[in-house]
Structure formats: C-alpha cells, structure tokens
Amino acid sequence: MEEIKIGVFICNCGTNIAHHVDLDAVLEAAAAMPGVAVARSYRYMCSNPGQEMIARDIREQQLNRVVVAACSPRMHEKTFRGACRNGGLNPYLCEMANIREQCSWVHSDRLAATEKAKALTSAAIRRVWHHEPLESLTAEMCPATLVIGGGIAGLTAALELADAAHQVYLVERTAALGGNLARVDLTAPHLDSARDLLTERFTRVGENPWITLMLNSELQSLAGYVGNFAAVVRTKSDDDTVQERKIDVGNVVVATGYKEFNADRITHYGHGKLPNVVTSFEFEQMLRKGRIETRDGRLPQYVAIIHCVGSRNKEFHGYCSRVCCMTALKYAHELKSANPACYVSDIYVDMHAFGKGHEDFYKHTSEVKTLFLMFDKNERPVIRMADPSDDCEMLIEVNETLSRERIEIPADLVILMVGMEARADSGEVARLVNISQDKDGWFMESHPKLDPVATTTDGIYIAGTCAAPKDIPDTVAQARAAAARILGKIAKGKIEIDGVFAEVRDDRCSGCRMCNELCPYSAIEFHLDTKRSQVIPAACKACGACVAACPSGAIKGRHFTMEQLHAQIDGVLA
C-alpha cells in the first residue's frame, strides 16, 4: 500500500480569497493533516508559475495526491488536472476545494469564512486520499452511418454525409423516397415546387456512390454503442421474399417523419361523411392535379379553411403543429389565384407567423381579400348542410372572437388543416434505437435548447418532424446539424471515453435488475447468460443513478465512490 503524499495548494486569487479568508490559518490547518507532505499558498495558482509550482512539487516531493483550494472546480478543474498531468501525476488524483465562489465571495464574517475554508479544504484532503488514477478508454469509430427515413430530413442528412465521402445506408420503409413532402404541391411561404426540391435530391442520391439506398426496408435490430453499432435491415422484394442484411455503422440518424391527424376523429367536422369536407393533404392532391373542384366536379364559390384540426386541444393533442397556419395561407393564395371570384374564409385560432417571410405572407394573403375569422380553440366552428334554397352547400357557424359575434359563413368546400402526430410505429423505432419519446410520442432530444439533434443515447441523432412538428427550413437545418455532428465524430477517428463511469463489480452483482431501466442512456445491460448486469463504459455518462440505486452496493461510481463521498462528509463536519 503506497504511502499517500498530498500536496495542498492554496490560492489567494489576488485579494479575492485572501481578503476575506485567513489563508495562513487554512494553510496551517491543512499542513497538520495526516498525509499532507507539502502545503503552499500562492497569489494566482492558475497562472503559469502557479501551475508550474504544482508540477514541480509533484516531481520533487513525489506527491501522489494534490488538493487545490481555490475557485470553483467549474472554473479551473481542467487547469489543475493539466498541471498534475504535466507533473507526471494522473489528473484524477487531484481535488479542488471551492473557497472562492462558495466561500470568500459570499461570506462577510472573516472568522466564519476561514472556518468554512478550513472545513472545505479538510474535506478535499480526506476525499483525495481515496482517489484512484483513471484512464480514458478509446474505441474505434466506424465511419458508416445509418439513416432511417427517406423523406426530406433523411435525404438531406444522407447527402451531407455522402458528399463528405462517407458510407451511408439510407433505409426507407416504402417503395419511394420523399415522405410526406412528396404529397405536397407548393411549399409555404415561398411557393417553391416540392417536386423540384425533392427531385434534385433523388437524383443526387441515385448518383452518389457513397449512398446505399434500401427501399421497402425496415430496421430489425440495432446492437452495440456509438462508433460500433451492428444493425440488421430487412428488405421485402416485389415477390414478397424477405432478405436480411447486417450492416456496421458508427452513428444513426432517425428521420422517420410524422403522420397526419385523422380528421374523422372530430366527428362534427363531418370528414368522411360530408363529401366536400377535405383534409389539407386531400386538397394538396387537387393542387397537384391542377384542378380545384368539389366532389361533383364544380368549381367551389365559397371555400373555408379551418385551422388547428387535432392540434392545440387537450382532447386530441395539446401542441401546435407549426406548419398549418402558413399552409392555410398558401391555400388561400392558391384558391384566389385559381379563381379570384372565390370567397375564401380562413377560420383560425391564432396566426402563427413566426418564421422568415411569414408575416409578409400573412399580410399578402389578407390583401387578396381573404376573410379571417378567429375562434376560441375550445369552441370549434360548427358545420351543417345548408338549405337547398341557399346558394352554397354548407354553412359554418363561428363564434368569432374579435367581433364577439356569431357569424355564419357559406362553404362549398371545407379544408381541414390537420395537425401532425407521431407515427404509430414510432414507439417501435424508439425501442429499436433506444431513445425516448415525450408524452406526445415525439422523439426526445438530449436537451431542447442546447442539444436538439442528439439524444440521450450517444450516436443516435434525430432530425425533422419525428422529433416535433416543424417546417422544411428547420427540418433541413436539423438534418444538416445531425450530419455535421457525425462528421465531427468521424473526423476524430476514434472515440475517447472519459475515464469516469460506473462499473458493476461482477463478484457482487446478483442480477436483481434494479439498475437496467434506471439508466437514461441504456448503459447497463443485463446479460441473460451470466445473469449479471454490466456497464458499457462508452455509453455511461457517470450520473451515478445506478450507483445509488444498487441495493447490494455492487456498482462503483468511479470518482464519486462511496468511500470518497463519505470522506468528504466526515471532512466538512470535522
């Protein structure tokens, strides 16, 4: 058992610490503690001379532990770990005591602040005693990527990666590429042709030697971890025979898209019963054919567009589907273009014109004399058949919010702006790749603001509407972002796995399986053959949830072990 020799380095931080804490007293107390071989005080420990002092003491005094009492570890833990490394000491054999942000800067009573600084330093000294040298692990990074979904998101991600000369497997469930965008005529608000957008990508995908396109294919299984996934893809041929193919990939982009809300569910809108109540996608079909007409072939005189069908309502989905408002305005524009005499009513809850060009598009649509009627999302407009004497087929009654009047408008054609919802098979996909879904079924990102394309499973990325309703610009941005993250990983060549992770002690694990479901990263696997659980170091983020939950204490949380934390607890109270 090696003799523990601790070097304690106390930073004055100019006057930041020295002014409020009696550092001589802290030094004296530290020097008297068991195992402390050297104790020094210095003006700026993080400076080059300060770091050099630590490195030199490690070499000359054969120190095997270092404590730096200074600012917050969130500030300079890296710095002092680096100093230890320079001195030839494993960087994890270093511990900091925060006597600035959480001591000298917040306590005015010098005596009390000094006592606290002594306690925090003492705790660090006791803790570091139990530290162990830790090494990073490296693993190979397979440069191939699996992209699930051949819609605009999947196509974009695949092309981005392939253009960088990396192998991509693009797996599409149906017989054709394009996803939901292939069912759209023009995009809003810029009125580009969706077909043109897509065809360009189809061609590039077909011509790119780096992309292996697998149509009529589904992911069967995905095993492994980031950089080292083994996927099995099942392809169905025309003659119904099934082929399975094993592919090795380093990362996965999930771009499985959305499905539209089933308008039949809102019975009083009459979709499926009234012949001229159609959904937005059904109207797109008309636009693509170039013929806007009612079921019996007539040009509609009165068209009503109803927003928020299946969205923003607790009864179905509480969220906003994001694209429908602009799409509705697009329809108003196209209806007016096709037939300027047509009366177009846009029946909306709020006009979500959040993006680039949206407000202008809204203004333009009102300028072409679209009638805008606002309703409360909890009180839907009511559609009924008109009398034969009326000159329209249906009448829609709206409790109009802005005028506070009940308004009845005629309609020969009603377009329901159906919202987006998570695909029925999204649960299956989530299970296969080990990602989570939120309460609405959308795939969950690692952090909604700071990390929107990564997931809690390293190596699995999400892009496009499978993560939440969004429009084409955001979808393309996410697809490119996911590709960029993957390219960054591929460029590194190897993955470095931080030396801090949880470890299951195989001689203690009893296979109780308390841990497996607790890990948000699926980093603890239960092995059926040995009936023991094991941590995948590459996947572990060292949160410690499993360490705390293991009822037999069989999991060791590296760098946050029970012994280390106990020593700290005892130290702060000594």
Binding site: S510, G511, R513, E517, L518, K531, S552
Partner: protein, 320 residues
C-alpha cells in the same frame, strides 16, 4: 491419541430462542458436534450457571455463539464474560449481528416500553403502578435485577466480535457449515460475515427478473401473485436485492417477500437506507403527487426497512 474436545458455549441475550432451536434443527448433526465438543454452557439445552463460566480461565472456551441482542446489563455482563473466556466469539443470528427485531424498540423510549408493559394495558390490574426497578429495598434488604437499558445494542457494540453469522434464524445448513469450519480450523479473516453469500438473495432466487418499474405496492394477500416472477416487479415488497443470500430463499419460495434478516451486503453500511434508495428509484412516476401516493402504499416503511437492523443503522435509534 484422542484429540482434546472443543470447548464451546452458546448463550441467548435479548432473544426469542429461535437461534438456539436452529442449532438443534441441524438434527443428527448435533450428535456429531457432541462427539467432538464439550458444551460447557448452553441455557436452553444443558445445565450450567454463570459462576461456571466465571470460573473458567480466559480463552478456555474455543468457541462461543452469542445470539440475541444486548438489552440489559445481564446481557452485557455475559457478553463480556464470554468474550474474555473465548478464543472465538461469534455474533450468532440477526439480533447479535444487527440488533434484530428487538432492535425496533429503539424507535421508542424506555419509559414508553415500561408503560406499555406494566401500566397501560388490558391485562394489568387497574390502578397498579408497579414497574420493575434495577434496585429495590424490600424489608431492609436490597434486591437487584439487571438494568433495562435505554436502547438496544448489537453484540459488537459491547465487545469485539470475531465472526458474524446472520439470519433470523441462521439456516440449519449454514449453522452446520460454520460449526464444521470451526472444527476444521478453516475460518476466514476475523471480522467476516460467515455462513452467508457475498451476493444478494436475487442471485439464488429462481423467479425471473425483468423490467423493474413499480406503479403500486400491495400486501401479499391483496393480489394473486405469479410465483415465477420477481415479487417486487409485482408490487410486493421484497428486500432480497438488498440482503445477503444463504438462507435458501426460504421466504420468496414461500411466496412472501424477503424481510432482510441476513443483513446487508459487504460494503453497505445501512441496509434500510440502501433498500430505500433502490426501491424509490424504481417507482414509475415523475409527478411528485403521484409518487407520494404510490409510496403511501407502503405501511410503516421504517419498520420494514429496519426490521432486523435498526441498531446497526446509521442513526441507530430515535432521538425523540
């Protein structure tokens, strides 16, 4: 030349007698023991007085098995006596190991105990105020009885213990194994737990374990359980995952949750707290109100978690 017989003693402190019966439950094996050992002191089975033990030389006994907790001065006295007179002293059974069920008395005060036993219960003559005292004067003479302590102690709280044999009671097979080990001189490092596994009950339990997520807890009589599946996964409390194995999984095999009598695994200092950490973690809810409601389905959790080990826990007793 005949080998000198092993000199052994067995004693019960604050005990129920179950551990002594467990030794007898080794059946014919006890005759093998009798063949190689002299039982010098064993209140349940053979004649003997404290004076006999006091007369022994220090270390004269090769082995003493002490079961039961230390509740009063008599228990302490005999514990110290046996420690002095024995080469090897074993804390035998949950009570000696961790305080045992008597240890739950540490949740109440001595006054509350005496009041319940002697003053305020249906079988006491109304108006009777008689409580036992350590010292009483009767007709000019002094009568002393053991002092009832304010709290329960483990054996290791009062003397150095060489080995711990857990269980309430220790399983007869384990008792055999321990006695054989002593006879053969094959005991592990001093201070070890013997007669128990280094893994938890789950390791030996035949029930299948899968996804651990609990949305409600049930008493065993409240549900018809699937006897092939993990009890905890069915919402039935079982402390097996936090308890050393070695008992033969006798409770889960009888469709009852493990109660933790074999104590915590090595490296776990507080069995009840560790089990709390595990159990709460698998509650399948993210809503604070729902979590409280699910946990409310656990009647008297403290007594469950510390049924056998309250004096061995971090806080050891109540501070009311």
């Amino acid at each position: 030349m005949a080998a000198k017989k092993l000199q052994i003693a067995l004693y019960w402190g604050a005990a129920c007698g179950g551990c002594d019966v467990a030794v007898l439950d080794t059946n014919e094996f006890i005759l093998d023991v009798a063949a190689v050992a002299d039982v010098r002191f064993w209140p349940i089975a053979v004649d003997g007085k404290y004076a006999d033990v006091e007369a022994m030389a220090d270390g004269e006994l090769d082995l003493a098995l002490f079961d039961g907790a230390v509740r009063n001065s008599e228990n302490e006295h005999v514990a110290k006596l046996l420690r002095a007179k024995s080469k090897v002293l074993v804390a035998f059974g949950s009570c000696a190991h961790m305080g045992g069920i008597p240890g739950l008395a540490n949740l109440v005060t001595k006054d509350e105990i005496l009041a319940t036993a002697y003053l305020a219960n249906a079988s006491i003559e109304p108006g009777s105020q008689t409580i036992p005292h350590a010292r009483s004067n009767v007709d000019g003479m002094t009568l002393e009885i053991p002092t009832f302590y304010r709290r329960v102690y483990r054996l290791s709280d009062v003397v150095d213990v060489d080995y711990f044999v857990p269980g309430c009671p220790p399983a007869p097979d384990q008792v055999k194994a321990v006695l054989l080990a002593v006879v053969k001189g094959e005991l592990p490092q001093r201070g070890s737990v013997v007669g128990a596994s280094e893994r938890a009950v789950c390791d030996d339990c035949k029930r299948t374990k899968s996804e651990k997520k609990v949305r409600s807890f049930h008493r065993p009589f409240e549900v018809i359980q699937d006897s092939s599946k993990c009890l905890l996964e069915q919402g039935i409390l079982c402390m097996g995952s936090a308890t050393r194995s070695g008992c033969g999984v006798r409770c889960p095999n009888s469709n009852q949750g493990c109660r933790g009598c074999y104590g915590p695994l090595a490296g776990v200092s507080d069995q009840g707290a560790k089990f709390l950490s595990a159990l709460a973690s698998i509650v399948d809810s993210k809503d604070p109100k729902e979590i409280e409601q699910i946990l409310d389905g656990l009647p008297d959790f403290t007594s469950f978690a510390y049924r056998f080990g309250l004096p061995a826990s971090t806080l050891q007793r109540s501070y009311r």
